[in-house]
Amino acid sequence: MPINKVAVIGSGVMGGGIAAHVANTGIPVLLLDIVPAGAKNRNVVAEQAIERLLKTDPAPLMHRDNARLITPGNLDDDLAKLAECDWIVEVVLEKLEVKHATYEKIEKHRKEGSIVSSNTSTIPLKDLAAGMPERFQRDFLITHFFNPPRYMRLLEIVSGAKTRADAVTTIEEFCDLRLGKGVIHAKDTPGFIANRIGGMWIQSALQAAFDLKLTVEEADAIMGRPFGMPRTGVFGLMDLVGIDLGPQVAASMQRTLKPGDAYLRIYKDRPLIAKMIADGYTGRKGKGGFYRMTKTEKGRVKEAIDLQTGAYRPSADPALGSTHERKPQALLQHEDRGGQYARRVLGLTLAYAASLVPEIADDIVAVDEAMRWGYTWKFGPFELIDQIGVDNVVALLKAANIEVPPLLQKAAGKSFYRTTDGQLEYLAIDGTYAPVERRPGVLLLADIKRRSKPLARNGSASLWDVGDGVVCLEFHSKMNAMDPDIMAMLSKGLDTVKKSNGAFKALVVYNEAENFSVGANVGLALFAANVALWPFIEEGETAGQNAYKAAKYAPFPVVSAPSGMALGGGCEMLLHSAAVQAHAESYLGLVETGVGLVPGWGGCKEMVTRLVANPKRPGGPIPPLMQAFEQIALAKVSRSAAEARDMLVLRPSDAITMNRDRLLADAKAKALDLAENYQPAKPIVVNLPGPTGAAALKLGVIDLVHQGKATAYDAVVAEKLAEVLSGGDTDMTLETSEDQLLALERRAFQALIREPKTLARIEHTLETGRPLRN
């Protein structure tokens, strides 16, 4: 049965977040919660949850309008509506009796064949299902989301002995394809996969910091970035998720774990933690946590708690030698307390992970994925062991008197992963290697790269044959900044397809970095400007314009598939593509004004022509220019692909993929679809108001400067932008061509790149990653 309507029972942080994310797929959600005693408005709890969703940052909703898909209701009056729902997600209090009472209500009203799942993180499925009717047990499973549901990729599915297989498949497919989750099958064991190992990681890091007398800064510097774990480290992470969650997790672990479990052996109550929670120091949501910001005479100062005394003191850079060590191996060998800390925490955590396969998951791949997706580790525990070296880890465990689990012993002298004939393999529990299987329909460039050689490659980009006649242009410069090498490879890619005699039909622009592209390599422009290499800068701009123009008018489709940020020159690549297949988490925008420039590779041209030609826009010559001007002058970046549609950075014909792992396959399918009888875009001309439009756009800027919302130099940049967008010296009775707009872009860009304040902005942004407001 397809899932066309979902109910979420319980509208707390997780329930609301799950409801929002279901709404992000365009599917209606019924959000039910209790009627508070004496409430006049019986839906008040769920209604307030929806209001909260609209205010939360980062936004649980990909578009504000998605809130309209969530219907609030209550558990007294609206249970009958459950009969319309195909999937009912229970997110009520983590108390067995409360959950059972809820299930009884659900069971009375839900329709035959609907699926019920619990978002429990602490109660075993066998306890939840116990005593419930057969029908319920067949349709019941656990779907464990991570907070916040929109952003955390992991979804653990636990099914019971009686759960019907097609219910599991339905939910798995829905969560994978529609919600975009990384679905992992976990077993019905305490904490499932991620929280079981994550719990050990956090607990061992906490205990060891007390025991070894490390400061929280030292602990976080070690058990964070060097191992590809969140930069916050463990103490920073606890501040983020809530310190009060710790004892709750510990209590449930103590209740459910088998005696003798390593977690229970290392666990100790720390009076400081209990005192912090009792006093309201529960982290960022409370008065403060292990860190806090305090107002002093010198402004806001970051403080950290002294684990030994419990007193706050100004936060200090970690002093231990080991904390400056970035390489995992070197850090693990360091002699100081920091090295000791790393050995103990990592030793306990990795050994624990290795001891739990196959108890908690069938294979190590599931464990690694769960930790990457659920705890944003860059590497899962087994990938980390491979990096350190299996034998090194075994030696480390022995030296620290930690028991070496059998799976680790089996891996001795080998690694957990290897590549054979281009195929990634993992060490199965029987000690043999098995291929890492991707889900049907998943296509990863990483896999293609493992088994093939690029069609072409330079320092910043490569071309790959991704099958079925599609060439993939991959960026791999630093932060995927656009540079002459990328432009050259784009041209080469276009040539490769064009001259392939039909062997290639389309070009897909795609990569698997965190960000599609952060924009043009402005460092290069800065360098050239500093030595007055103006012809180099001018050629670079013209070459970019020409390459993008060639992409737009190629006789075959160019499809761009961004994920993460596609800014400035990266965004201009999308604007010149026949179609865009965007990952839902795409953050798109033209941000050039931040460094004192205007988009110079056709970004102004594309936004103006799109907005002017938009049949849905308001009448008159000025409104489309206003929109383009506001977006570009304010360097607006969409907070999702859905928001980019409002900006017309994505057109109605562009598409969105929810699951990151399916982006390349979707882009490829889109490209092949377009390739059938492909007709390239035709150049368009627009009537622009010229100086009148520029004057209109400039009026608003003056006020912003007075209001202190823009600097005088912002106004200089904005005025140049206004002149480009309004068509230069044209008049509304005349037609302006795309080439004329490109020429205007060049004129404005070349004027601004010669301005010292623009160069100061570029320099500052390169150094600090932040814009300079000069």
């Binding site: 100086p691 439009g693 004057a695 400039k698 003056i702 006020d703 209001q707 202190g708």
Partner: protein
């Protein structure tokens, strides 16, 4: 010279643009209900009306297509009644009154509806397609200066402090609230029928406004400035109308005469201090009436901004106790095109209510102008 009188005054409730109760009412519909009510209340025979002169600051969108004529249709006036739209920005509907008076002197009609409307919800203050003259914008940018900047300029030039501005705002709200409670606004207000009910009360008045609440606000137009959202008139939706006739016609037909027009004037000033426009305009009007400011008993001076209202009162020597007896635009609101008709109609009604002899209604106008009307009891 003929005697020209104000023989009726009515207005809609005034409400905040966008969030207020009139946001979903079209401006032509709003104005038509006010005009129809004015005709009905004054009991004028509508076929005697020469023209509907409709003031509007941004006459486009739903306020376009000659809204003066459209309102005639919507108010079911006889087809022989003509309709025109007039634009002098904030002075539009006072200008409508002046034009009617001029026409009467030329024997070009005996009775006129002089009205004004602005839906600042539905037609933005800049219009939908602001298209300034690029050469002028460059050479003489003050021509297009934003109103907030002019308020700051006036505050600086005439040394009006933030506290003084706030004091005026607090008093404006107190006076308006007291008038509302005492039912003194009831007679002038026409209940507006909208899709979701009837709107019969003003919506902008905030009786609990204090120096303290106002001093918490950030400057709205200049980071270093003194003018805040609390000392500026709000963006407002509303309509107002007065009936202007010859004194003979009014008497012949037993119309309720509120006041007689004594003199009128407009005057230009520097656009960057447009708020001071009432000073030269009122001075001209006083001179034409042969009066001095001390002779004026009742003043309606538009509070576009507290800074300019204070500066004008100081420069003209207006006794604060005579001004804006039932509150001004900071409390009531300022639907641009409607304000001129409101303050002129209000000044006329106040002459009658207070039993006084002379009234001055005056306002500033974007682009650097002032407009003034002197009334005397009839």
């Amino acid at each position: 010279m003929k005697n020209v009188v104000i023989a009726g005054y009515a207005r809609s409730p005034f409400h905040f643009a966008k969030k207020g109760a009139l946001a979903r009412v079209r401006p032509d519909e709003l104005a038509a209900q006010v005009v129809a009510a004015l005709v009905e209340r004054s009991r004028i025979d509508p076929k005697d009306i020469e023209d509907v002169i409709m003031g509007c600051a941004i006459p486009e969108g739903e306020q376009g297509l000659n809204i003066g004529r459209i309102v005639g249709f919507l108010a079911h006036l006889p087809l022989n009644v003509a309709g025109a739209t007039v634009n002098r920005f904030c002075g539009s509907s006072m200008q409508a009154i002046h034009m009617a008076a001029g026409a009467i002197q030329l024997d070009a009609g005996e009775a006129f509806i002089c009205a004004g409307v602005e839906s600042m919800t539905r037609v933005p203050m800049t219009g939908f397609n602001p298209s300034p003259h690029p050469g002028l914008a460059k050479e003489y940018p003050q021509a297009y200066i934003s109103m907030g900047q002019t308020a700051e300029n006036v505050a600086r030039k005439y040394q009006v402090t933030r506290e003084q501005q706030q004091e005026l705002a607090v008093k404006s709200h107190k006076k308006a609230a007291a008038a509302q409670v005492a039912g003194k606004l009831k007679d002038e207000i026409v209940a507006i029928k909208a899709k979701d009910g009837t709107i019969d009360q003003d919506g902008c008045i905030r009786p609990d406004t204090t120096q303290e609440t106002l001093s918490g606000l950030q400057p709205a137009f200049d980071a270093e400035g003194t003018v805040t959202a609390g000392t500026a008139s709000p963006l407002t939706d509303g309509a107002a109308a007065v009936l202007v006739t010859t004194e003979d016609y009014a008497k012949r037909n037993n119309l309720p005469i509120l006041a007689r027009l004594k003199s009128i004037a407009v005057a230009g000033c520097a656009p960057e201090i447009m708020g001071i426009g009432p000073v030269p305009a009122a001075q001209k009007a006083l001179k034409r009436a042969g009066l001095a400011i001390k002779d004026i008993d009742v003043v309606e001076i538009n509070e576009a901004f507290a800074s300019q209202a204070i500066a004008c009162m100081r420069e003209l020597g207006i006794d604060e106790g005579k001004a804006n007896l039932d509150g001004g635009a900071i409390a009531l609101g300022h639907p641009l095109g409607a304000t001129g008709a409101r303050i002129t109609g209000k000044a006329a009604s106040l002459l009658k209510r207070e039993g006084k002899r002379y009234a001055l209604a005056t306002q500033c106008i974007g682009g650097g102008q002032g407009i003034a009307t002197i009334l005397e009891s009839a």
